[in-house]
């Protein structure tokens, strides 16, 4: 029933299925057609669906998002691509002041079902091309913000987003495109995953690790590492950052009494800050130690490889944070 697909192919499959299903679905973005997509997600789509439905655009992020929102208002189902989340800043007025507001300010009479695909990621790309801004988008009412870690979520979220009626900021990760994972066969029926809900992907009893997107794998790696030392970590993939499913985290913390958040964005006001703030509020009496947050160092990201490695979280830093949290516990117990 299920087979292994790469994250990229899972996205491609979702796009194919939705485009085949509904003529109103179309793609728009820079270099998605003739070039094949900067991360090769839409390669071959231009040849298959033609210029009408696979639209190479000028370098006009603001214009592209605005046109997508307008097209959505007019009855179409745009799925657009902003090459990287760094460039989404140019379009953020359209995302926040338009897409996120329309339904509200026109009292429900207008909808803007636009799916904005974009990619977070890094790898010696320099200060302006290595950022991730999911925390910004997760701040904004009216948006749905998803950040899938697995091929299955990537496919299932994208298909749901394409059929929903709300604007969705769909954040991929350039370092995940080749990751493989199980995804149901298409003939098993439409894989439509609701755009909400965190998932406990690994059960554990001593500490809860919470992350999303690529950070989830760091957390998972740390959990495996910790297991060798007899520490049992529960790992939660947040999956969706707005609405944020804090209940799943709270439930877990009630069991493990320890929490570490892991993310690739800057710690200050990263999504981890919201999770920590909410969990201390909702599970105060269950916490045996302060919630620790692992994030990237508070600096722009340098090009030099040796420096860049030190900026982002990795498995070891997560392991260290967990040990810090648990050690404190031991100390206060002793």
């Amino acid at each position: 029933m299920a087979r292994e697909l790469s994250y990229r192919d899972a996205l491609r499959e979702a796009l194919h299925e939705e485009m085949d299903r509904d003529e109103r679905v179309f793609l728009m973005g820079e270099d998605i057609g003739a070039y094949g997509g900067s991360y090769v997600v839409t390669n071959g789509f231009l040849e298959e669906y033609g210029r009408k439905r696979v639209r190479d655009t000028p370098i006009s992020e603001l214009g592209i998002v605005g046109a997508a929102v307008g097209a959505a208002m007019g009855g179409l189902r745009p799925i657009i691509e902003l090459m990287t989340i760094n460039f989404s800043l140019l379009a953020i007025d359209q995302i926040v002041n338009h897409a996120a507001k329309l339904h509200y300010m026109f009292a429900g009479t207008i909808t803007a079902p636009v799916v904005i695909r974009t990619a977070s990621g890094w790898g010696q790309l320099g200060p302006t091309h290595s950022q991730t801004f999911e925390g910004w988008y997760a701040h904004v009412p009216g948006l749905r913000v998803v950040m899938p870690a697995t091929p299955r979520d990537a496919k299932g979220f994208l298909k749901t987003a394409a059929r929903g009626n709300d604007p969705v900021v769909f954040i991929e990760h350039s370092l995940l495109y080749r990751n493989r994972g199980e995804v149901e066969e298409p003939d098993a029926g439409d894989l439509l995953l609701p755009l909400e809900g965190a998932e406990v992907r690994r059960e554990g009893t001593d500490v809860t690790l919470v992350s999303w997107s690529r950070g989830y794998y760091l957390a998972l790696g740390a959990a495996e590492e910790l297991a060798k030392e007899g520490i049992s970590a529960e790992v939660i993939d947040m999956r969706v950052l707005r609405p944020l499913d804090i209940d799943t985290v709270v439930e877990s913390v009630k069991k493990t009494n320890h929490l570490v958040t892991v993310e690739e964005s800057w710690r200050t006001l990263g999504v981890g800050s919201e999770i920590a703030a909410a969990v201390q509020e909702l599970a105060f009496d269950y916490l045996d130690a302060p919630i620790a947050r692992v994030g990237s160092r508070e600096t722009p990201v340098p090009y030099a490889k040796n420096l860049e490695r030190l900026i982002f979280p990795d498995r070891d830093k997560v392991v260290e944070a967990v040990k810090g949290v648990l050690a404190r516990n031991l100390v206060s117990v002793s």
Binding site: S60, A67, G75, L76, Y104, F106, A107, G164, D166, P243
Partner: protein, 336 residues
């Protein structure tokens, strides 16, 4: 610039009723705006209020040329367009009062009138932010082969924003059916065009996009209507977008807070002398289309309609606080 003149009335093949209705719409807008200003002063309306007084001929002329299937989208100075497109003064005034009976249930206020049932996609408050939306609406029309044209209104000031340029380029590259109607009222808020735009002639900005364009006297309702018909026809025939610049002037401040330090009283008076509503009435009387008495009656009716709208707004209930979390998402789903 298209020249105006009563002699063209016949060429336009407009019946008396149509002509008188154009007048009626203009005076209705004028009364609406005057009353809105009054209610603002009385504290019944708050926030931003951008009046269309002085510019009625542009809005009424432009909308009168549109078909029902055509789409209208505009900036925050949107009362005139809403009324011209058929929004009831009651619902419009109630919106200004922040009432549940308002056209968008008190959510949007003055800057966000809309009525999708009339293909009026609303007013928008981020300068130039709605221009890309217009390109998208145009794309939707073209994609679905609907034959409808999008009319997008914005000011001289908006033409300096990147959003306009990105949207105009997209519209031209894809030959989208969109009329970009620039209301050049000489100022963006308190800043005169010549200080902030490299060209005074807005239609020249179309050249960078290989876009057809024209200028029209925006104080002449028939000239605007005619120019708009040409523009709509151009777009409907698949020739791509069109930029129409309407030369107009706002008689009041930019919004209610405007000190008007940037222009002289004399300048305002000069323009007020050529009030587009008075001009049109005089012309219709001169040409024998209707009599002074008929116009007096229309004026009185408009006044009454707006007074009733004010009463309606005043009598209407405010939105129910229990609806506070409505309209955030279109689909159900937990909201944090």
């Amino acid at each position: 610039m298209t020249s105006s003149g009563g002699s063209r009335i016949k060429e336009l093949a407009l019946e008396k009723d149509d002509l008188v209705d154009l007048y009626r719409q203009m005076i209705l807008i004028r009364e609406f705006e005057e009353h809105a200003a009054e209610q603002y002063a009385r504290g019944r309306i708050a926030g931003f209020l951008h009046l269309y007084i002085g510019e009625e001929a542009t809005g009424v002329g432009a909308v009168s040329a549109m078909e029902d299937r055509d789409h209208l989208i505009t900036h925050y100075r949107d009362h005139g367009y809403a009324l011209a497109r058929g929004v009831a003064p009651d619902a419009a005034m109630a919106e200004l009062f922040g009432k549940e009976t308002g056209i968008v249930h008190g959510r949007g206020g003055s800057m966000h009138f809309s009525d999708v049932s009339k293909n009026f996609w609303g007013g928008y408050a981020i300068v130039a932010g709605h221009i890309p939306l217009a390109s998208g609406l145009g794309l939707a029309s073209q994609y679905q082969d609907l034959g409808s044209v999008v009319v997008c209104i914005f000011g001289d000031g908006a033409t300096n924003a990147g959003a306009f340029h990105e949207a105009a380029n997209l519209a031209s590259v894809w030959k989208l059916p969109i009329v970009f109607l620039v209301e050049n009222n000489l100022y963006g808020m308190g800043t005169a065009v010549e200080y902030v735009s490299a060209v005074n002639d807005m239609s020249r900005k179309a050249m960078a996009y290989d876009m057809a364009s024209a200028r029209v006297d925006g104080q002449d309702v028939l000239a605007v209507r005619e120019a708009m018909q040409v523009a709509l026809e151009h777009c409907r025939s698949g020739n791509g977008p069109y930029l129409l610049e309407s030369l107009t002037y706002r008689f009041r401040g930019h919004s209610m807070a405007d000190p008007e330090s940037y222009r002289s009283k004399e300048e305002v008076e000069r323009f007020r002398k050529d009030d587009p509503i008075v001009l049109f009435r005089n012309k219709l009387i001169e040409d024998g289309v209707a009599t002074q008495e008929e116009f007096d009656q229309i004026d009185a009716d408009a006044l009454k309609e707006i007074e009733q709208a004010v009463q309606f707004a005043e009598d209407s209930p405010v939105p129910d606080p229990s609806t506070l979390d409505e309209f955030i998402y279109a689909d159900s789903g937990d909201v944090r």
